[in-house]
Structure formats: C-alpha cells, structure tokens
C-alpha cells in the first residue's frame, strides 16, 4: 500500500515543480539576465562600449514578461510554468539579434532599423497575451463558436488578395495595410482555424472514426465525412494560388491533417493527406511558375543560374555561408557578418543566429522550441476534455510545424516559404499570434489542473 502511494506521488512531485509560479519567476529573472548579457556583448563587440541605450531593449520586454507572470499569479495560478520563460527567451534573443543587425546597418550608413519597433511590438503582444489570460475566463467558451471562427479565418486568409488593402511583398500576397503599417492576417487565422477544427472535430469525432467501408484493407470513411477534408484540401490549394505562398498552405493543411488524425485515431487521414499535399504541390509546380521556381532553387541553390536569378537562391546561399561561418561555437554576437544576408532580421533570422551562436546556439534555439511544443503536447495529453486536448495539440503543433518549415527552408531542407520564425523574427502579426497561442495554452493548462482537482 505504501509502495503504491510512493510511486503515484512521483508524477505529482515532478509536476509540482514547473507549475510553481515561483519557479517561473526565477526563470524569467534568469532569461532576462541572458538577454542583458547578449545585448552587452553586442554593444561591446560592435561599439566597443556599453551605453545606456541597452536598457531600452532590455527593460520593456522584461517588464512585460513580469506583467504576464503577475496576471498568471492572479488568474491562472496553476498554468504551466515553463512556457512563458521559454517564449520570452526566444523573443528577447530575437530582439538582441535585430538590434545587432541595426548596429551593422547604422555602421554601413543605412537607416532601415527594426529593433525599437520590435521591442514595442513584443511588449504589445505580451500585454495582449496578459489581457487574454485575464479576460478569457475559460477557453471552453471558444467551443461555442467553431463556425464563426472558421468563417473569420477564411475572411482573414482572403483579405490580402482584396483590392486596395491587400499587398504583395517578395511575390507573396500575405499582407494587408500600407507601407508604414502592414499586417499578416494569416498569422491570426491559424489560431482561429485551430479553434474551428477542434470544435468541429469533437462534434464529428464518432462518425469520422467509426463508420466506413474497407477498401484494400484500409478503412475509408464515407463520402459525407470525407467531404470536409477534400473541401479543405481545395481551400489550401486556393490559399497557395491566391497568396502565392507554399508555406502558409502547408501550415494550414498540416494543422488540419494532424488534428483530424488526433480526433479520429486513423492513420488513413495522414497518409491520404500527404499524398494529396504532394500531388497538389506537384500539380501547382507545373501550372504556376513561382512554385516551380521555388522548387528549382531548392533543388540546386548553388548553380550560378539560380544564384543570380531575381528571386533566386542568393538569399538562401548567403544564409548557408553565414551558418557555415558560424561553425560549432559561432562567431559570437557581433562577430559575424549576418548583415550580408538579405532580410536577416525577419525571414533569415535563424541563419543570422546560426552564424553568430554557431551550431551550439542553433541546437539550443531548436531545443527551446521543441521544449515549448512538448509542453503544449503535455497539456493536451493530461487534459481531461477532448476539445481542450485537440485545441492544445493544434496550437502546439502549429508552432512546431512552422519552425520546421521556416528553419528547414533556411537550411535548404525544404523549399523556402514566406512563413515567419515564431518569436524571433521581426514582425508584429507573428508576435501577436504566437503570444496569443501561449496565452491560450496557459489558460488550457490552468483549467486542466483545476478540473483534475
């Protein structure tokens, strides 16, 4: 008897530590120290002197993270204790790298600066996350609006293609707004889609999983149940055609497949979905030259034809040169030449970090992402409610998949896409969306433990 109580106590012990808000506070303090160190190193290396300006990049994000922490103490005391520090670590590292690129830009006589903006956008995104935690008392309320969420997601996805407000940058139609103020609605759409899928699939779970006839030993669902999947496949292709971006379309379709699979437990959906995705991409590459070009560049980035072509592999190859220059331990912050990579502050921030922090830094960044995703999956695993499970899984997976597609693209593992690196890259929509995801996951984890009790 005593034996049993001992073993069952162990998981509770393990769980008790990271969920403690005190542990979280300590981690935030520590991460903030890492940020200060990174900024100091950058200033010493490039300016040869430390200036008070450093505080401008260090204090506001730290303060914002502490506000989120404080709100968690008030409203979601049982929420996961690792997610906030991990996301804050990535966010601050991104700010440091963007600041470092700003200094290089200033040294070269340029004036295209991003770091200040990134600081305020990060603070804004974190405060929104705090507000979400404060205002949304229970995420189960979201379950009531699956179709509204779905509709809103579709509208957001189509917005960039709308006249007047829609904007095309580097060939991809992902933005709305003006030159000064632009927004990527697709980033927010991924949250709405996750809510929609979770709500829809929980209600249809049974019919999708159970009913169907066997064809060649594989259980195939009824056409009625298969319909929405085909519909969504077409929608993804539609996104690809309208937005001219492979990444967004992979992200949404991948999210959809994994959530359907999780809801039904049938590998058929993943198998069929992958076949459909590859077929779709191949067909698209035949009909749309921008997709075909992306593939060509991916397959042979070093050929001089691809290297010199407009929209060719120049950026990719420069990124690879940068990462190779970083070697195992990196050049140190401020010691490399990440400014040689076009768009190093946004699309290629992963390569910029790879150059200055080396393979060691790349491993740490990837490990932090993986840990973040694992925490999300853990919440899904332990939550008693199916909707919460699905939503947590979807939100965690979408971060993981996005990192895979972006980092894979930068390193030449996959064709390059227009997705952003969560938390690291310069850009407000991405920060806002990803911090909202963290907020939702924190609420779900909090509710999980409350209902367990």
């Amino acid at each position: 008897m005593s034996n049993l109580s001992l073993t069952s106590a162990i998981p509770n012990l393990i769980r008790a530590v990271p969920r403690s808000r005190n542990f979280e506070a300590m981690l935030i303090f520590w991460v903030s120290g890492i940020h200060a160190f990174a900024l100091a190193q950058i200033q010493l290396s490039i300016l040869q002197i430390m200036t008070w300006e450093m505080l401008l990049y260090w204090a506001p994000p730290t303060l914002s993270a502490m506000i989120v922490h404080w709100v968690l103490r008030k409203c979601a005391v049982k929420a996961d204790g690792l997610m906030l520090p991990l996301a804050f670590l990535l966010n601050g590292l991104g700010i440091a790298m963007i600041y470092r690129l700003d200094l290089a830009e200033l040294a070269a006589g340029g004036s295209d600066l991003f770091a200040q903006r990134q600081v305020w956008l990060s603070c804004f995104a974190m405060l929104i996350a705090a507000a979400v935690i404060r205002v949304v008392p229970n995420h189960l309320a979201l379950r009531r609006f699956p179709f509204i969420s779905g509709l809103a997601a579709v509208v957001l996805l189509l917005l960039p293609a709308a006249p007047v407000i829609g904007r095309t940058v580097n060939g991809a139609t992902l933005w709305v707004g003006t030159d000064e103020l632009s927004f990527q609605p697709g980033e927010i759409a991924k949250i709405l889609l996750a809510i929609f899928f979770a709500g829809y699939l929980v209600s249809r779970q049974g019919s999708l999983a159970e009913i169907g006839s066997r064809v060649l030993g594989v259980k195939v669902p009824r056409a009625k149940d298969l319909g929405p999947i085909l519909l969504f496949w077409f929608a993804s292709l539609g996104v690809l055609i309208v937005q001219r971006d492979l990444g967004t379309s992979i992200l949404y379709f991948g999210l959809f497949l994994v959530m359907v699979y999780t809801a039904t437990g049938r590998g058929f959906y993943i198998g069929a979905g992958l076949v459909m995705m590859v077929t779709g991409a191949l067909v698209a590459s035949r009909f749309f030259d921008y997709v075909e070009r992306r593939f060509e560049v991916w397959l042979d980035p070093f050929s001089s034809a691809n290297y010199t072509a407009i929209g060719g592999s120049y950026q990719l190859v420069q990124g690879l040169f940068g990462m190779a220059n970083g070697d195992v331990i990196g050049t140190g912050l401020g010691g490399g030449f990440p400014q040689l990579i076009p768009l190093a502050e946004s699309d290629f921030i992963f390569a910029a970090l790879g150059e200055e922090l080396g393979l060691a830094g790349v491993f740490v960044v990837l490990a932090v992402y993986l840990l973040l995703v694992y925490r999300g999956l853990r919440i899904a695993n332990s939550h008693p409610d199916d909707f919460s499970k699905l939503l947590a899984l979807g939100l965690a997976f979408v971060i993981g998949l996005q990192v895979f597609v972006v980092a894979g693209g930068v390193m030449g593992l996959l064709p390059l896409t227009g997705l952003t690196t969560p938390f690291l890259a310069a850009g407000g929509s991405s920060l806002l969306a990803n911090w909202s995801i963290i907020a939702l996951l924190l609420i779900i984890s909090d509710s999980s433990l409350r209902s367990n009790k």
């Binding site: 190193q41 809801a263 437990g265 190779a324 220059n325 393979l359 999956l377 499970k389 998949l401 390193m411």
Partner: protein
C-alpha cells in the same frame, strides 16, 4: 486520444531531428566547402578584423600590420625587399603567398593553439591578435647573399647543416610586397599585372620552385655518392682518360670542358674527375652504375619529395626510362635532370653533416601576443642517404676542388672550404646556368651555401660557376662565420 497525442509528439521529434541533422551538416560537415566558395566574401572579411602577427628575423620585425583608418583596418608593411621571396605577400585583392600563406593560421590568430584566446574573443568581442612568426634567417647572411647576387637572376640558399635551419634564401628578381599589400585596388591591380606579365617571373621563389634548373656538374656529387655507396667504387677507381667519348648506341660525342683529357695519364681516378669536374669519366660512371642506382641515391637525398619549409618546395626530378646515352648525360647533370637550389643544398648538407640530412626549416618559433610560445620546431632528421665514410671522402674531394681544383674562387683564407661548381648547358646557343654548392668550415661545417645564376650571369656562354657563383657563396659563408 492520448495515443495520437504521443504519436504527434513523435512526428514533431522526427521533424526536429531532421533540423538538427541539417544544421550539423551545414555547420560541421560542409563548413570547409561553403567557406571556400568563391561567392562567400566572409572569408576575406574575417581576416581584416584581426591584427596580423609580425614576421621577425633576428629579433627584428620585418613585416608588421599597422592600424589604418579604412575598411581593412590594418595595413601590412614590409620592411625590406630582400625578404620578399621568403615572406611572400598578403594582399586583400591579390591573394597570399610565401610565409604569409603557409603560416596564415598563426599570423591571423586562427590556429588551434590560440583556442583560449579565441574563446575570449567570442565573449568580449575583441578580435584575436595574430601570433608573431620568427624565422631562422640570419639577417647578415641574407643581406650578404642579396648584395653579392647583385643584378643577376638566380637564387642563393644557405642552411645550417646540423639543424636544417635555413639561414638565407634569396631569389632574384623579386617584388615589392608593399605594392601588392596596398589597400588601393587600382594600384594592386597594376602591380600584380606588371609582375605576372614580367617574363622573369619576379613573383616566383626560384630557390624552391619555378621552372627548376639543370644541375650540371653539381649533380656529380650525387653520382659520386651513388658510386661510393654501391661498394663497387672507391675514390681511386679509375676510368679510361679520353678527350672525346661517344655515348653508347649513338654517334653523339661528349667532351670535358676545354675539350681535353682529364689531366694527364692513361686512366683517371674518380677523385681527380670530381676535383677537376670532368664530364667523360662521370658519363662512363653513370652508364656503369645504371640509372636506377643513381635515382635511388637521388631519392634518398630528397628528389621527388614534396618538402614543406613550411612553403611547399617543388620536387626535383631525375628522369625515368632513359636509354644508356641519356643515362650517360645524366651523369654530369644534363639531359632532363631538374633541381631546385634548395635540393642541391640538401645534397651538400648530407656531405657536410656526416651523411645525415636534417629537415630544412624556416620557422624558429611562433609567439602569441601574450608571449606564449605556440610552436618551436625542433631539428628532425630527413634521411641518412650516405655513410659517414662516403661523406668524408666527398668532403675531402670538395675541399681539394676549392684548394687545387676548379672551385678556387670560393676559398677563404684560414678556413677550409668544401665546394663544387657547375656550368649547365641549356642548348647550343643558350646561356649557361651557373652553380656553386659548398660548405665551410670543412672540418666542422656551420653553413652550406648553394648558388645558382641564370642566363650565364648576363655573359652568355663565357661565364663559369667558379667565376660568378663561387664568390657569392664565399660572401655568404663569410657573413655566417664572422
């Protein structure tokens, strides 16, 4: 549903493992290839940030990097043109040669020995300072060789036979490294074009590379060594004393210089043939010994080896697959035998150092900016190509060569000098290649000197090794022995 959640976790793990693997491939496996891609400007940018280490000779800096106010931060400055063939140049537009290239890892602070300094640099952002490289060159010997060679094209090598340390290494004509190290692109382009279009190839270090030279009579040292080492010959072995010898299987005659016999008498000894540097006995000897034996001896002495001092030395060659006539010609260093002056210095060093060749070396020490000694090459044996006895016999014959034979102008009063001259033919009307190789003092050698002069020293077929090359060697020996 938890089973699916765990599976999704597995899928994500696999995806991230792919990312880890890809990053490792780029940042570990493919770094070299990516770094060397000509489109990667990082390699050249990287080097500008560090203050390159100095190159020193005799405790004095002959090459330094000084801070300047431009993109490249440091300007490389070369003290004197006499060291150009050794140091080479370090140019931001035109590449790197010589010691600058061979020791680049140390000079640029990127060697593994400076690992902790590099880690420091990572943390506080101050670039590593390059390590200083001290050369084995003796500034007096280098200056003497430079001055004595004058305006003639050629090369001088001086080695300390007991250690292999290179004391002087001169090649003329040479270049002004400052012109190539300039930060003004147009200037470097002009200088580089001038030098590379110059048919005298001033950028080539003739002492260790370039087109190589026919050794002529100095190669007789190798043939004599092969004969003595074979056990079938002594210094008193004799040959028929002819004034004209028709090469076997041909109608081509060879002559001694002056078209006479080798001294008086019916027969001539190996000793006399070497002292008087007669061609006919050596042609006969080579035919008798056979090309394989001579080649084996030559290879023991370094022919065919890719030496690094630490610059790469072009291997000297003794041809393969010759007929008897060609073998005969090779006996006095003609036909297709081709050597570097450094190689002939090594042959001479074997004789001077009682049969042992030490690895030739230009680096005395490498010292980091914090005065840590990073590297201090110790003398190492290259080979033992001849016995102590053979070395003794050859020494005596070379001393006689200087005292009573055809190498008299290398003589220094009150010092026993051992020497061998050479006057190699390049074609019927072409100017000679003139040689001297020797060492002093003969009883306790401190320096081996090899001199080569191209284009007959400017006087066509009228000059001899003794007349033009021997006095240069004498000047270098005196500078070292002082």
């Amino acid at each position: 549903m938890n089973r699916q959640v765990r599976r999704v976790g597995l899928i994500l793990t696999i995806m991230f493992i792919a990312l880890f693997a890809m990053a490792s491939s780029i940042q570990v496996v493919r770094t070299g290839e990516l770094y060397l891609d000509s489109r990667n400007v990082r390699a050249s940018y990287e080097t500008y940030k560090t203050q390159r280490g100095a190159i020193l000779v005799g405790g004095e800096a002959i090459v330094t990097s000084t801070a300047v106010n431009d993109d490249y931060r440091f300007l490389r400055e070369y003290e004197s043109v006499i060291y150009s063939p050794i140091t080479g140049y370090y140019s931001v537009f035109s590449g790197t040669t010589g010691i600058e290239r061979a020791m680049n890892n140390y000079l640029s602070g990127q060697s593994g020995a400076q690992f902790f300094e590099q880690i420091n640099a990572l943390l506080d952002g101050t670039p590593v300072t390059g390590a200083a490289v001290e050369l084995t060159i003796d500034p007096d010997a280098q200056r003497a060789a430079w001055d004595a060679l004058g305006n003639r094209k050629g090369a001088v090598v001086a080695i300390e036979p007991a250690t292999g340390r290179i004391l002087a290494l001169v090649s003329k004509p040479t270049f002004d490294a400052n012109l190539l190290a300039s930060h003004v692109y147009g200037d470097v382009l002009d200088a580089s074009r001038n030098y590379s279009e110059n048919e005298d190839n001033p950028l080539v270090n003739r002492a260790i590379g370039g087109d190589l030279y026919p050794p002529g009579s100095v190669f007789k040292l190798v043939v004599a060594a092969a004969a003595l080492e074979s056990g079938n010959y002594t210094t008193q072995s004799s040959f028929e004393n002819l004034s004209e010898y028709v090469l076997p299987g041909t109608t081509t005659p060879v002559f001694n210089s002056g078209r006479s016999t080798c001294g008086s008498g019916e027969r001539v000894t190996l000793e006399t043939a070497l002292i008087r540097s007669c061609n006919i006995p050596f042609a006969m000897l080579a035919v008798e010994l056979g090309q394989d034996r001579i080649r084996a001896q030559a290879e023991l002495m370094g022919f065919g080896d890719e030496l690094e001092i630490p610059m790469a030395v072009t291997p000297s060659t003794y041809p393969e697959g010759m007929d008897l006539a060609q073998t005969g010609l090779s006996g006095f260093g003609q036909f297709d035998v081709r050597v570097t002056p450094l190689q002939m210095a090594l042959v001479t060093a074997a004789i001077a150092n009682q049969g042992v060749i030490m690895n030739p070396q230009l680096i005395k020490s490498v010292v980091a900016s914090n005065l840590n000694i990073l590297s201090q090459p110790q003398p190492t044996v290259f080979s033992s190509p001849i016995s102590r006895e053979t070395a003794g016999f050859l020494t005596r014959m070379m001393v006689d060569s200087v005292e009573i034979g055809v190498a008299g102008r290398a003589g220094i009063s009150q010092v026993a000098v051992a020497g061998k001259t050479g006057t190699a033919e390049n074609g019927p009307a072409e100017p000679y290649t003139l040689w001297f190789t020797g060492f002093a003092p003969a009883e306790k050698p401190q320096v081996v000197v090899t001199v080569v002069i191209e284009d007959g020293g400017g006087i066509g077929q009228n000059g001899t090794g003794n007349q033009l090359a021997a006095p240069i060697a004498k000047a270098v020996m005196e500078a070292v022995l002082e």
